[in-house]
């Protein structure tokens, strides 16, 4: 019993000493996202932190995508907040890809996009049902075509 108490005390010590290790940092999320992206080559990451809201608040970024390249967009949610991120890719105002397919209700941790037009594209991130969340989006290069 006393031994158990001591173990618990030591556990509490490390918990206090490295308190931040138990809250996922954005850099840790980038690493996890890198694993989701598998063998694709890292290009850029996007850190998403949004409060709750109705309609769900959005965070937007622009990216230049190049013709004849297959890109991978990966997303990774922090376990510390309940929000599940949705990534949407737009060409001007035209939605061309998303990690959440409403019709099937299916979430994809990563999607591949075969780009056939060099230019500026827009990324929009939001959390499902407007819940607060912390997430990372990763853009990586799969292959040139």
């Amino acid at each position: 019993m006393k031994n158990k108490f001591l173990i618990f005390a030591v556990f509490l010590f490390f918990l206090g000493f490295s308190g931040t290790a138990f809250a996922q940092t954005e850099d840790e999320l980038v690493e996890i996202c890198g694993m989701i992206a598998k063998e694709a080559t890292y290009l850029k990451d996007f850190k998403i932190r949004l409060d709750a809201g109705d309609p769900p608040p959005l965070q937007r970024f622009s990216v230049i995508l190049k013709k004849d390249i297959k890109y991978r967009f990966s997303v990774c949610n922090s376990k510390d907040l309940e929000g599940k991120v949705i990534l949407e890719l737009f060409d001007n105002n035209r939605l061309i890809a998303t990690t959440y397919v409403i019709a099937t209700g299916k979430d994809f941790p990563s999607i591949d996009f075969i780009c056939q037009k060099t230019g500026a594209y827009h990324l929009s991130f939001k959390f499902k049902d407007g819940k607060p969340g912390l997430a990372v989006g990763l853009l990586s290069l799969v292959e040139t075509l």
Partner: protein, 311 residues
């Protein structure tokens, strides 16, 4: 045999551990604060006559990955075109970069070369470039974001090339983010300009030497990029160094008037295979660039890039 003292003693131990934990955590915070305050010792905003900085959010929305050395190198490598050491800037030129502006420009140019080297796994050359980049990064007080020791270890031991690419890219991203979040977007944009001109130089030279249709298109498609880059540079045109750079880039931009880019919008198609959703845009983009225009652009880019390297 050692026995744990009574419960009161254990509670005392617990109390001591918690106090120590709080103490250590506080010390860490102190260190971070100290580091942060040191970083803010000489803000560029006080040293230079800067215009009102563009907000980080606006730059985020505009810059994205406006110039990516990895994509340029990946396209070249994907066409089975071999590595050419003569295409990258010699590190001796770094001695010419004496102001913050020129150091940022050099950081971008050598950052692009590093991407090219990494993609081809030329680790023997990488160390010279990461040393040069670190010195330039230190010169504009962002050296702490360039993970020199890890990169040097990976390059020296010829370790995982993917990690070399990843850490190089992340280091450049962190520098860029830090500059933008600390009202130094002017330098962030100069770095982007450096990456862009060096990438265009490599693309142009490969196009000239290989004659490959895709490389010719790669030169032509930069019309889209320069049209996005120029407004960002123009925001800081009051800076004499930036004004000179804008004038040089205008000389390239004007040649791009002769490049015709047309696009037909397609209906995207999606295929799910092995749990991976792949979307194909089905757009058709045509890039029309004459031999004469291509030659003019290549000559101009060579001229401007050499001028910039000479400081």
């Amino acid at each position: 045999m050692y026995y744990i003292p009574g419960l009161t003693m254990t509670r005392s131990l617990l109390f001591l551990l918690v106090v120590l934990a709080i103490g250590f955590s506080s010390c860490n915070s102190c260190k971070e604060n100290k580091k942060l305050s040191k970083e803010f010792d000489i803000p560029d905003s006080l040293k230079e006559d800067n215009p009102i900085p563009i907000s980080s959010a606006v730059i985020d929305n505009m810059i994205g990955n406006i110039a990516s050395p990895i994509e340029t190198a990946a396209v070249i490598k994907g066409l089975n075109i071999g590595f050419n050491k003569d295409l990258i800037a010699k590190t001796d030129y770094a001695d010419n970069f004496n102001t913050n502006f020129h150091k940022a420009l050099g950081l971008g140019m050598y950052g692009c070369d590093l991407g090219y080297l990494n993609m081809y796994g030329k680790t023997s050359l990488v160390i010279d470039y990461i040393s040069t980049i670190r010195n330039l990064a230190d010169g504009i007080q962002v050296g702490q974001f360039f993970d020199f020791s890890t990169l040097k270890r990976l390059a020296t031991n010829n370790e995982n090339i993917d990690s070399l690419v990843l850490i190089s890219q992340q280091s450049m991203t962190r520098i860029d983010t830090y500059l933008r979040e600390n009202n130094r977007s002017n330098l962030s944009i100069v770095i982007v300009a450096g990456v862009w001109i060096e990438g265009l130089y490599i693309t142009s030279m490969v196009s000239q030497e290989s004659g490959h249709k895709r490389m010719r298109e790669a030169v032509g498609e930069q019309k889209e990029i320069i049209n996005l880059l120029m407004p960002l540079l123009n925001h800081y045109k009051k800076d004499p160094n930036m004004a000179k750079l804008i004038k040089d880039f205008e000389g390239i931009k004007v040649l791009y008037h002769e490049v015709k880019i047309t696009s037909e919008v397609g209906e995207p198609t999606a295929v799910e295979e092995n749990g991976v959703l792949t979307i194909k845009s089905n757009d058709i983009q045509t890039i029309d660039i004459s031999d004469e225009t291509l030659a003019k652009i290549i000559d101009k880019v060579k001229e401007i890039r050499l001028k910039l390297l000479k400081g």
